[in-house]
């Protein structure tokens, strides 16, 4: 009986170590891999840069550019599960659109949009359409929001 009472848990405390390695985008569980020279890793984060105002290279005004496979995304998860990937462009100028042959929508440059959804098994690549119509000379910034959920 005494043993039984003692078996009721009032408190349990134990220490366990948690170790999480923060690695660069191209080494993470969801890998972001630069492919074209316009994509690179800066501070371990994927950065896409079409031109550089410091070195006076970039894209022309009033032009449309299509860049295939600027970067790729791969599932390097330790679990073999399909991941549903959503990429959204966040910007104010309407310059940047994206596409991927593996996307459920916007599979080609012709129907590129600001959001694509990819059921990702292994690796999928993302292309960019940059339309500089109606923008002045200067540097424009946007963000690509990448979110994934387990399938």
């Amino acid at each position: 009986m005494v043993v039984g009472l003692n078996a009721n848990l009032n408190e349990y405390r134990v220490g366990r170590e948690v170790q999480i390695s923060v690695v660069s985008d191209d080494q993470a569980l969801i890998k972001l891999i630069p492919i074209k020279p316009y994509a690179k890793l800066e501070d371990g984060r994927l950065l896409i840069e079409f031109g550089n105002s410091a070195s006076t290279t970039g894209l022309s005004p009033d032009s449309k550019y299509v860049f295939d496979k600027v970067f790729c995304i791969a599932v390097n998860s330790w679990e073999s599960r399909e991941v549903l990937l959503k990429l959204s462009v966040i910007e104010n100028y309407g310059i940047v659109k994206i596409y991927s042959p593996d996307s459920l929508v916007s599979k080609s440059p012709e129907d590129a949009s600001s959001e694509i959804i990819i059921p990702l098994n292994e690796t999928s690549c993302v292309g960019f359409v940059i339309n500089t119509k109606s923008v002045k000379l200067g540097t424009y910034t946007a963000k690509i929001k990448i979110s994934a959920t387990g399938g």
């Binding site: 009721n8 985008d25 569980l29 020279p37 896409i48 894209l59 022309s60």
Partner: protein, 171 residues
């Protein structure tokens, strides 16, 4: 004592189960930057570089313009103010198209005109409404322009838009 051990085992089992459930991938979210520099036509990845003074880069919008009139900023007093009526002018190498792509791949470039009175050519080919040529990485190719003022009169203008299309060469 055995009850304590049993309780501890139950707890560890629960923790392991919880850990396994937690190990299933649930979600991921990241935001990454995109930067785009919009620069003048003669500073970009595929340069459009004026070669003759009839072509210039606008300081206002950075675009290449071909303008044979007194509106051209290169015009100076005493220069010709345009082309003659019922005449044909050919300008070799009016502007150059260069390939400064960071991928270092050759490109196939097509320059086309929307006006049959303004024709384009490259190399030794005959002028036409469009011309296609390969530009190797780091190289440039000249584009010539033929202007036909046939059936035009003094005071008229010959408007035209040149479209430059480039894609990765498959040759």
């Amino acid at each position: 004592m055995s009850g304590k051990v049993f309780g501890t085992l139950m707890l560890l089992t629960a923790l392991i189960l919880a850990a396994k459930i937690g190990a299933d991938f649930a979600s991921y979210e990241a935001k990454r930057d995109v930067r785009i520099a919009v620069v003048a036509d003669d500073q970009e990845l595929i340069d459009l570089e004026p070669n003759l003074p009839y072509a210039y880069i606008s300081a206002d919008d950075g675009k290449l313009y071909i303008d044979i009139s007194t509106n051209n900023p290169n015009y100076q007093d005493g220069f010709g103010e345009g082309v003659s009526p019922d005449s044909t002018y050919a300008f070799d190498c009016m502007f150059k198209v260069s390939n400064n792509l960071w991928e270092e791949v050759p490109i196939s470039v097509t320059v086309s005109s929307d006006n049959s009175k303004v024709l384009v050519y490259s190399g030794e080919e005959e002028a036409g409404s469009e011309t296609t040529f390969i530009v190797e990485s780091g190289d440039s190719v000249c584009v010539g322009i033929v202007i036909s003022a046939e059936s035009y009169s003094p005071g008229d203008t010959i408007p035209s838009v040149l479209t430059i299309h480039a894609e990765k060469s498959t040759e």
